[in-house]
């Protein structure tokens, strides 16, 4: 059984917001991290402009003695650190490795052929990364760690929410985008 310390060490924390209530359960959507939401030019920027999509369904009650989650509430979610590192390595590094390998392999044929080989290598790497991402999709499903305090939601202060770290509520249902 995971101890409190184990959960803290193996999870990377993020924030999610309650976007819909479904009887005794709620739908959560990942919060856009603060640097994008607080940017002065966000109205003119396409990045992060899409509305958050409801992704995970969890129980509405986080534990005995705690009020049920309401629409707009923010909760802390945790994703397994090793799964996230594995996914980011496969998504970012694998296409690079295949691209560089293909380009180096065809360098003697001239720059034009090397460019074409690099593009093919990049596409093959992206395809392989997609296959791996599908295989490891379930490992990236987060658990709910507790209700986020105002300090955790703010981008200015550290996340002082240790008192709520004793729970790890699994997701009931995941909706793909």
């Amino acid at each position: 059984m995971n101890t409190l310390q184990d959960i803290d060490d193996t999870l990377i924390e993020g924030l999610a917001r309650v976007v819909a209530i479904d009887n005794a359960q709620v739908w959560l959507a990942a919060e856009q991290p603060a640097s994008c939401g607080s940017c002065a030019t966000r109205s003119a920027c396409g990045s992060g402009a899409t509305k958050p999509t409801a992704r995970w369904r969890v129980p509405r009650t986080l534990g005995p003695g705690q009020p049920p989650l309401m629409l707009g509430d923010t909760v802390r979610i945790g994703v397994e650190r090793s799964a996230l590192n594995r996914a980011s390595l496969s998504a970012f590094v694998l296409p690079l490795v295949t691209m560089l390998t293909a380009a180096i392999g065809m360098q003697d044929a001239g720059d034009g052929v090397a460019i074409a080989a690099a593009l093919v290598g990049l596409l093959l790497g992206v395809a392989a990364a997609r296959v791996l991402a599908r295989r490891w999709r379930n490992a990236l499903v987060p658990v709910v760690l507790g209700r986020a305090t105002s300090a955790a939601v703010s981008s200015c202060g550290p996340t002082q929410t240790a008192a709520l770290r004793s729970i790890a509520i699994p997701v009931i249902q995941q909706r793909s985008q």
Binding site: I12, G14, A30, Q32, P33, S35, C36, C45, G46, S47, G48, R55, V79, R81, L84, N85, A87, S88, L89, A91, F92, V93, P95, L96, M99, L100, A103, I104, Q107, D111, A114, I115, A118, L122, V126, A129, R130, A133, R137, L140, V141, P142, S176, Q177
Partner: protein, 192 residues
């Protein structure tokens, strides 16, 4: 092969983009408070920087130089880098939505990372071939990621240290970065 290894070593360590060229200091200071964020930023930057170096080389060799439009170099490179970042964002969102939600915030930040434009300009000015330029970009990105993660580890330790009040936060961060830069100067001349 030995030449490629020397290019990688030179760009990643000897001529480190952050500690020797002093490029990309904003993300270096801004995303190095935790190792988690540093690793995410390092991986995303490695991907974008390498890819943009390749595209920028192709734009210079196939478009700007033949048409004698090299005075448009900076503007064209910024356009190419922004396009590569948007492409990367779309691909990551497509292949792994959870990963995009966790690390996607770093991608827009890379657009304004001067290290990406700086490495692209320096690589094109060096006049190397396509593969060597690609490796220079990759080496610079690895160097950026390396010092970012090292610095994040140092800052996590510094957060627990008893630092005089006037040096808390950014000042002690800059002093540490300066000492780290001095340490990397020890690699000068390696591989020459």
């Amino acid at each position: 092969m030995q030449d490629f290894l020397l290019v990688l070593l030179s760009t990643a360590i000897v001529n480190n983009v952050v500690l020797a060229k002093f490029l990309g200091l904003c993300p270096f200071m801004g995303t190095s408070s935790r190792i988690d964020t540093a690793v995410g930023m390092a991986l995303a930057t490695t991907f974008v920087l390498t890819l943009s170096t390749g595209f920028v080389w192709a734009a210079e060799a196939l478009l700007l130089a033949p048409l004698d439009l090299t005075f448009l170099r900076t503007m064209t490179f910024i356009l190419v880098i922004a396009a590569v970042v948007q492409f990367t964002e779309m691909v990551i969102r497509r292949i792994s939505p959870p990963l995009y939600e966790a690390l996607g915030v770093y991608l827009p930040l890379i657009t304004t990372n001067c290290a990406v434009l700086g490495v692209a300009l320096l690589t094109v000015q060096a006049g190397n071939g396509f593969v060597a330029s690609l490796l220079r970009g990759f080496g610079a990105a690895v160097g950026f990621g390396l010092v970012l993660v090292i610095f994040a580890g140092l800052r996590e330790r510094l957060a627990l240290a008893d630092v005089p009040k006037v040096f808390e936060g950014a000042p002690i961060g800059f002093i540490t970065a300066g000492v780290l830069s001095l340490a990397f100067m020890g690699f000068a001349g390696l591989g020459a």
